[in-house]
Subunit: 344 residues, 2 copies
């Protein structure tokens, strides 16, 4: 096994997280040779880790010991960097969002095809345990067939960092957490999209969206609500999932939650009306006790390789990529549709 | 004080609830003389309560001791009954939804105007304590200015009763609980509507909707999500309210809930990144401890009279109705818009 020699372009929050937290999990397959960053300060930090410090991009691209690049720079720079890297004969791992729009992505994919080099986007949240539980419920019908998927991440800290506040760098939350949630959704639901409605939030006064809500109807009948909020002081569950035989909630990344499932018992007493405000309701009364049972959430697991292991196998053994460029493209198409829908 | 003599048309679930649970609260003002129902069984039940039992509608309309009628029949009969009652010189209290559509309502309102008789719709949930808390937050800014209002009722019992399953009777949940939630919303938010998107649910296979989700953008910038579900085995909070300085949750009709508000303290430490699935997030990390405070929900109260007290004052003293027909009409216009938006 010969490890793939990597250079890292952009040693900021994500770049350093790759180097110190993700790549080491595959230390037989992935070897970080060095880093290039426009910030002298970040270069200095990187130099403490026995990394080669490149002074120019050119130096990276002409370094023949380097087989692959990780691009972890602001979103508006991905296209140019990826194209230059591919043309220099390097494989590329690129942070999400892959590019500013579909047009940019297509330009990258054209060069990847021409050069025969691997281009793979780091959609790491396909391995999130909460997502894998949802995927397990979707595939194995513990609450019946899933027909409504509500996926939310909500915080109260506003838009993070610096360049993410700026339109020209591809800032905003739709291109940040939005990409993750939409990638998970399209990876999950095997159907074309019929209808998209959306609303972007600009409550913080930035030029980019500080969150969004989108409602997606798939051709197979599945509905999805996808929401990212940065102005939520307390939050709704991470996942709320409706199936034909039950409902599941995953509250948070700590995987607390439950499923409530119809018991299937016959001759169940009708629910008794409950007081609701100044009226009574039978419709919204809890089902009678024997009508449902509450269960623990199932375990979820990925039957696919971890990201960098997969990347290695794609490069060395022509394996199928877990994150396919066509899928990444579908997410970008959807993001463009969401921007459009919000303007309608 | 001379009580208003009422006859009740339709002694089913709602009719009998009025007679036994709501009207007695105003027993100096409201007197139930008798009932008329097409069901012999329900007439028999009513006769046990010292009610006069009318055998025909004609008998009610020609009974000169009767000053007002309560119409609590299936939705498709409201228009004809209301018009006949008004033309017979009776005041009318009508259950919601007032009619099948705006056209029917306009026909009723025309006759009300011609006859000079009072026509008032029983939008009783303007007095719901959970709604009154929301109204308190909206008016007095305990969590800053409310800019997002999420109002949900969710049950697992399907569409209730018999005629509510049928299109011709005005069945479905948009015309049932939907009317309540939309009436509360429009009573709360003093702004015109800019945009409506909506999706109706037909998961139970009925010819009418078993629930719906609508997203409403008001001209003043407020966003509302209104949802009624009858296929939810476990539920999201009754109210989720976002303000510029905090977020409030009212979980249920029992009024449990809280508000989380920014503390306004200066020099607050930035939130520390937390593990979220296979990645880290600072954006979605909880705010640092000193940055927010959690408080009890405020009390809410109606500064307007209870429904039947108000009705009495409208009839006897030319008081302003709490439930204005123009407001009721706006809700019907919105409901028609929701049906249209769901088809787009």
């Amino acid at each position: 096994m010969t490890a793939i020699n990597f250079a890292v372009i952009g040693y900021g929050g994500m770049g350093s997280y790759h180097v110190h937290n993700i790549m080491p999990n595959e230390n037989e397959r992935i070897h970080v040779v060095g880093t290039y960053d426009i910030s002298g300060e970040r270069q200095k930090i990187s130099s403490q880790y026995n990394h080669k410090i490149y002074n120019t991009l050119e130096d990276v691209l002409t370094d023949e010991t380097i087989e692959a690049l990780l691009i972890a720079t602001p979103n508006d720079s991905h296209k140019e960097l990826a194209i230059q890297a591919l043309q220099a004969g390097k494989h590329v791992v690129c942070e999400k969002p892959v590019a500013m729009n579909v047009e940019e992505l297509d330009a990258i994919l054209k060069v990847a095809k021409e050069t025969g080099k691997i281009f793979m986007v780091h959609q790491n949240r396909r391995w999130d345990p909460d997502f894998l539980i949802t995927r397990e419920l979707y595939k194995n019908h513990q609450i019946g067939e899933l027909f409504q998927i509500e996926t939310r991440v909500q915080g109260a800290n506003g838009i993070p960092g610096d360049w993410r506040h700026e339109l020209k760098h591809g800032g905003g939350m739709l291109l940040d957490w939005g990409v993750h949630l939409l990638d998970q959704l399209l990876f999950l639901v095997d159907s074309r999209i019929e209808k998209v409605s959306a609303d972007l939030s600009y409550i913080l006064g930035d030029e980019v969206d500080d969150g969004f809500i989108t409602y997606i109807i798939f051709e197979n009948g599945v509905r999805a609500i996808v929401e990212v909020g940065t102005t939520n002081y307390t939050k709704l569950p991470r996942w709320y999932l409706k199936g034909t035989k039950g409902t599941a909630i995953i509250y948070d990344w700590d995987l607390t939650g439950e499923m409530v499932i119809e018991s299937g018992k016959q001759n169940i007493q009708a629910p008794r009306p409950v007081q609701a405000g100044v009226g009574l309701t039978k419709t919204m009364a809890p089902p009678s006790e024997e009508a449902t049972e509450t269960k623990n959430l199932p375990q979820g697991s990925a039957e696919y390789d971890p990201f960098y292991k997969n990347f290695y196998n794609v490069v060395r053994e022509q394996a199928e990529p877990v994150v396919k460029n066509e899928e990444v493209r579908q997410v970008m198409v959807l993001i463009e549709e969401i921007f459009k829908a919000a303007k309608r």
